[in-house]
């Protein structure tokens, strides 16, 4: 690098500007479709470049830039450090896949305004970059809210449907409330003499009370975006409403920006952590995780299911962050690094496989116009590419070796198993419960994903038209395959990924996982080889070796005669597609076991019904326990307030008169 001075920050900035330019170009394009498609592909190239550039910057010292924009006295500060770089890598990778897919996806143009969508899509990408680069409160808020705003427009891009409009509304309101909490948090954090740059905040002194207040506000603010309980309600509404590539971006990347913000404030801007924060975060994370997975199990809409699954995954990440804080507060930096790495790794994983799965649902919707699990099935036959890609995503999200989801869960479990070294006995007692919750959620997640994949892709088609569904086109396949490759490679070479993540941990905690990561490229050994080790490549090689050996043996030793016949099914003669287990049926056991969690409305047929009909709706209890009462309260207050405004001039004059007299008496009394 002696002759080329390469600095990543301007390059990253350039990519963001490039995306903005693409968006504007998209707005001005003619109705000519192909021109529009090229824009998304060009955007994908930008994503790849971003990932490479940011990966390059991972280990570097932070670089900063100031733009001559922003408020007077508070110009836009940008900073690229390892934490931001890691999330930029995540963003770049996910965007590459999603934009490639979008190239093939945003073609029909029948329902949405292509040009406006293209604009918002690329602005959304750029806004996320700016969120990650921001180094002062104002820039951060501007980028953060712009991100919310454009994603709101994307969510409502098909706004002819009332439920999509209300989903978008709910989303933006929750996002805005969260943003206000973040604003308050910055207000608490601000440095000496009102410094709102992050640099000033880092060096500010504050009492434990204010530090805790700031952390809790950050938890609420970023929780609203990430979907921590009880601010998760928008997720299952907004994700299904958005076009699938947008759902993928929101779930895969945007939620991570909230995690980024939490880490930025929790570890970077607040230099000292307290164990109680960690316990709060841990508990909140676990509850969110369980809640998400249980609701995912009973969904009948495939995108809602994935949205609830996102809540689960975010809860897992939060739990890991909580654990990291607990370790950090007890001066155990190596273990904190382990937990933090698990969190970050899971962020990356979730970005890859959740994007992949949302894109797969996009392909399915594109081909079938169906979102309800009750009307899908058997798509593995007409859509083998999509089904194959979705299978990888399903196995990855279910946390199975040798794919990537397993690695992060494995690291997190290792961190949990190391927590008995904590000096505080009360904390130690939390550990088993927390571990139990974690593994339970992981296991139910596998259940959920089997349901998802099985009902959508396997079995017999539940609608006749599904047989003629078309597979993804070349661009869509490219996007899917890119993400599949990401899942597989991150799963098989976790040590490489951990090397990158380790820089982040080092940057935030002052010490990373250290030599433990660098031991051997084949084995992940978070603490020491005796303690634990895992080598996904060997596991895969083992499975493939045995499978091929057995296959060859069987092939050579025995005849391979195969005959096709109707399914046996214990000899039942008529087998229609309606006799398969439905999505509701699949969720039924979970519903029954965890009944107190749900709010279930049943419509039971009576014995005398001519056309008996059974219907059950499962709803979020929190919606009724929290959101609706809140809305009612606000409406009631509005009712009281509006009584002031009754249209009688005399009374209005009385108001003025009373105000005047009250003020006069007030100042006379002073």
């Amino acid at each position: 690098m002696s002759f080329v001075s390469f600095s990543p920050l301007p390059c990253v900035l350039g990519i963001a500007v490039y995306w903005i330019a693409l968006g504007i170009l998209g707005l001005t394009q003619r109705a000519d479709r192909d021109a529009g498609r090229i824009l998304y592909a060009a955007g994908a190239a930008g994503g790849l470049l971003l990932a490479v550039t940011a990966a390059w910057a991972l280990g570097d010292a932070p670089t900063t830039v100031q733009l001559p924009l922003g408020l007077p006295g508070l110009p836009f500060h940008l900073r690229l450090d390892s934490l931001a770089a890691f999330f930029l890598v995540l963003l770049g990778l996910a965007v590459t896949g999603i934009s490639l897919f979008s190239t093939g996806y945003f073609t029909s143009g029948s329902t949405t305004n292509d040009r406006v969508t293209c604009l918002h899509y690329h602005f959304f990408l750029a806004a996320m970059v700016f969120v990650l680069l921001a180094d002062d409160a104002y820039m951060f808020m501007v980028a953060w809210e712009s991100m919310a705003l454009v994603s709101y427009f994307l969510v409502t891009s098909d706004h002819r449907f009332a439920e999509i409009r209300s989903a978008g509304f709910l989303y933006l309101v929750v996002a805005h409330v969260g943003a206000m909490a973040i604003l308050l948090c910055f207000g608490v954090l601000h440095g000496p003499d009102g410094g709102y740059t992050f640099e000033a905040m880092r060096s500010a002194d504050r009492t434990p009370f204010w530090a805790t207040t700031a952390f809790l506000l950050a938890l609420v603010g970023f929780g609203a975006k990430a979907g921590f309980l009880p601010l998760h309600a928008w997720l299952p509404e907004a994700h299904p409403a958005a076009p699938s590539p947008v759902s993928a971006l929101m779930s895969g990347v945007m939620l991570k920006t909230a995690i980024y913000g939490l880490l930025r404030i929790g570890f970077d801007l607040l230099p000292i952590q307290y164990a109680s924060w960690g316990v709060i975060a841990l508990a909140l994370g676990l509850v969110t995780m369980l809640y998400g997975v249980l609701f995912a199990a009973v969904q009948t809409d495939m995108k809602r299911l994935l949205a609830y699954s996102s809540i689960e995954n975010i809860g897992l990440v939060l739990a890991a962050i909580g654990l990291a804080i607990v370790f950090r507060a007890h001066a155990m930096p190596a273990l904190a690094a382990l937990a933090l790495c698990a969190a970050l790794f899971h962020c990356l994983n979730h970005a890859l496989f959740k994007s992949l799965l949302f894109l797969a649902t996009g392909a399915v919707m594109h081909a079938t116009s169906q979102r309800s699990l009750g009307r899908l099935g058997g798509l593995i036959h007409p859509m083998p590419w999509v089904a194959g890609a979705a299978l990888v995503g399903t196995l990855a999200i279910a946390g199975l070796p040798p794919l990537n989801g397993f690695v992060s869960e494995w690291l997190l479990l290792q961190a949990f198993l190391l927590s008995p070294e904590l000096p505080d006995p009360y904390l130690r007692m939390i550990v088993p419960v927390a571990t139990a919750a974690l593994v339970l959620a992981a296991a139910v997640a596998a259940y959920v994903m089997v349901k998802f994949y099985g009902v959508v892709f396997l079995g017999q088609p539940r609608e006749p038209s599904l047989r003629y569904a078309h597979d993804a086109d070349a661009w869509q396949r490219a996007g899917l395959l890119f993400l599949v490759a990401g899942c597989v490679l991150a799963g098989l070479f976790p040590v490489k990924v951990l090397h990158g993540i380790d820089h982040v941990a080092t940057g935030l905690l002052g010490r990373g996982m250290g030599d433990a990561v660098g031991g051997h490229w084949l084995h992940v050994t978070p603490v020491s080889a005796e303690r634990a080790s895992y080598s996904p490549l060997l596991v895969l090689a083992g499975i493939l070796g045995v499978v091929s050996a057995v296959f060859l043996y069987v092939r050579v030793r025995y005849h391979m005669r195969t005959r096709r016949a109707p399914a046996w099914d214990c000899g039942f003669p008529a087998q229609t597609s309606r006799m398969q287990d439905t999505a509701e049926g699949f969720g039924q056991p979970i519903k029954q076991i965890f009944e107190p969690f749900f709010r279930i409305e049943r419509e039971m047929p009576s014995p005398f019904d001519g056309a008996p009909r059974y219907r059950a709706r499962t709803e979020d209890k929190l919606w009724y326990a929290l959101y609706l009462p809140l809305v009612r309260l606000v409406e009631r207050i509005a009712g009281w307030v509006s009584r002031l405004q009754h249209g009688r001039i005399q009374w209005y004059l009385v108001y003025s008169f009373a105000t005047l007299l009250a003020l006069l008496v007030l100042i006379r009394c002073q």
Binding site: P68, L69, G70, L71, P72, N113, A137, Y138, M141, V142, A143, W144, E145, S146, A148, L149, T156, H159, R160, A162, R165, G168, F169, L172, V173, H176, V177, M180, L183, L184, F186, G187, V188, H190, G194, Y196, V634, E635, I637, A638, G639, V641, S642, L644, Q645, G647, I649, Y652, L653, Y655, S656, A658, T659, L660, L663, L664, I667, Q670
Partner: protein, 483 residues
């Protein structure tokens, strides 16, 4: 200063012209031309003040400093863009048979007169003349509010007239008391009402008189600014008048009223040496924000809805000025600017939307973005901007205000945030309903004026990202003057 003369005489000339020719075929264009040249004069004046500092003219009768010239420029600019918007708007009204030639003459004449009185109020050095200008502004708009002669509009105008008339009378009493206090220091004759004189001796004024004077001034001009509970004229007046008038009422008149309050506060602070004036203003501001926020939840008329939004923003600005200090006042001034720009842009869009829908009822306006994407997106972006979403400038102002409030008055910041969240929900829900969804609107004969909408929104957007140095210096100077 010739530009000052042009600035003040041109609208007057316009008013006289239109009193006779206001219904002619080219009157809308002429209206825009008058406003355009006025705006030009304002720009020239602004440049001069920027270069040479505060100006006095005509035997100290006129005084233009950074604070007033910034509002002069804003007023003239919004006056100009509104006249552009009013061109197709009023033509459509004529086509719809809602206004006749007489009404059109009245409209154009009063429009010019209104802008003229606003400019007079801002440039005069005499707080008595300031009062006269404010009263005249009320009188000019009162007939415009009842222009359509529907029962509702007559009611609204009557309410406007009585409430503002009574309110402004209180302001006169305050002015008299101020004169009483000043006279003891400056002696009788013309100088005791001159701002430049008053400002110099403000710490010698008798506190007990100034306290009472300030209360009367606050109640008086506060009525015009729409502070709760004195605001009751505002929603109706916003709803029933022609939309260009709504735009200037909301974007200009309220600002000028706040300008008068801010000037009064300077004197009160100087005389009292206590934060009493600021505390009163903060109290009014908070109450206004909270009540207006909750009121937005109950609105079914789109113009009333945004009328309440104006009330809320006036509360925020009053709060900012009340808090005082360089940062908060800066935020207040920025807020005035962006609110004027955004709110008038919203009313432009709303005006076209209501003409298309033939109603102002929110529930009957649907799918704007389908029938006319520009108006739809204009309304949507305007709504988003006025709700304080970045990257628009309103957010910049709110950011400054809230962060300052959090250091100085944390409890108040919390109240403000709750109120902002409530009004966010209330307004977004309704804007979304109008802009999105399946369309039900009909096309118009005269093409809507989209340019003013997007010019305003573009300026607001720019202010969210970038405050030109001269503007920032200007605000700082003005904040120094009134902070």
């Amino acid at each position: 200063m010739p530009e000052l003369a042009v600035l003040l005489l041109l609208p007057l000339a316009g008013a006289v012209t239109f009193a006779f020719l206001g219904a002619s075929a080219r009157a809308p264009e002429a209206n825009a031309a008058f406003s355009g040249f006025t705006a030009l004069a304002a720009v020239v004046l602004a440049i001069r003040v920027l270069a040479d500092g505060p100006q006095l003219a005509m035997r100290d009768l006129f005084h233009v400093d950074a604070f007033s010239v910034f509002l002069v420029a804003l007023t003239a600019l919004v006056g100009f863009t509104t006249s552009l918007f009013s061109r197709p708007y009023m033509r459509n009204e004529v086509v719809a048979g809602r206004v006749g030639p007489t009404a059109l003459r009245l409209y154009h004449a009063m429009y010019q007169l209104f802008v003229g009185t606003m400019l007079l109020a801002l440039t005069t050095n005499n707080i008595g003349i300031l009062w006269v200008a404010m009263e005249t502004a009320t009188l000019t708009t009162v007939l415009l509010v009842s222009l359509y002669r529907t029962p509702a509009s007559v009611r609204a105008a009557w309410k406007y007239f009585i409430l503002c008339g009574v309110g402004i009378a209180q302001a006169l009493f305050g002015t008299i008391l101020l004169y009483l206090a000043a006279e003891r220091v400056l002696g009788g004759g013309g100088t005791a009402l001159l701002w430049t004189q008053l400002e110099g001796v403000k710490d010698q004024l008798e506190p007990s008189v100034v306290t009472i004077a300030f209360v009367f001034l606050l109640v008086g001009y506060g009525t015009k600014a729409g502070l709760v509970p004195l605001h009751n004229w505002l929603p109706d007046a916003h709803a029933e008048g022609p939309t260009p008038i709504t735009a200037v009422l909301s974007g200009l008149l309220l600002n000028v009223a706040l300008y008068a309050i801010a000037r009064s506060k300077v004197l009160a602070d100087g005389a009292l040496g206590t934060p009493l004036a600021g505390n009163l203003m903060m109290g009014f501001g908070l109450l206004t924000v909270v009540v207006a926020a909750f009121m937005t939840l109950r609105q079914t008329d789109v113009k009333r809805l945004f009328g309440y939004s104006s009330v809320k923003h006036m509360g925020l600005i009053t709060f900012a000025f009340g808090m005082g200090g360089a940062a908060a006042t800066f935020a207040g001034l920025l807020h005035m600017t962006v609110h004027s720009l955004t709110k008038s842009a919203i009313f432009f869009a709303v005006g076209h939307a209501t003409q298309k829908a033939g109603t102002q009822v929110i529930d009957e306006i649907r799918g704007l973005v389908h029938t006319s994407p520009a108006v739809g997106w204009g309304l949507m972006l305007g709504g988003i901007a006025i709700l304080g979403m970045p990257p628009f400038g309103v957010f910049a102002a709110e950011f400054l205000l809230l962060t300052t409030a959090m250091s100085a008055q944390p409890w108040a910041a919390l109240v403000l945030l709750v109120a902002l969240a409530v009004s966010f929900g209330g307004i977004l829900w309704r804007v979304q309903a109008m802009v999105f969804g399946a369309p039900n609107l009909k096309p118009l004969l005269h093409r809507p004026a989209i340019l003013p909408v997007f010019v305003h929104l573009g300026l607001t957007l720019l202010l969210g990202f970038y405050l030109p140095p001269f503007l920032a210096a200007w605000y700082r100077e003005a904040a120094r003057l009134i902070g």
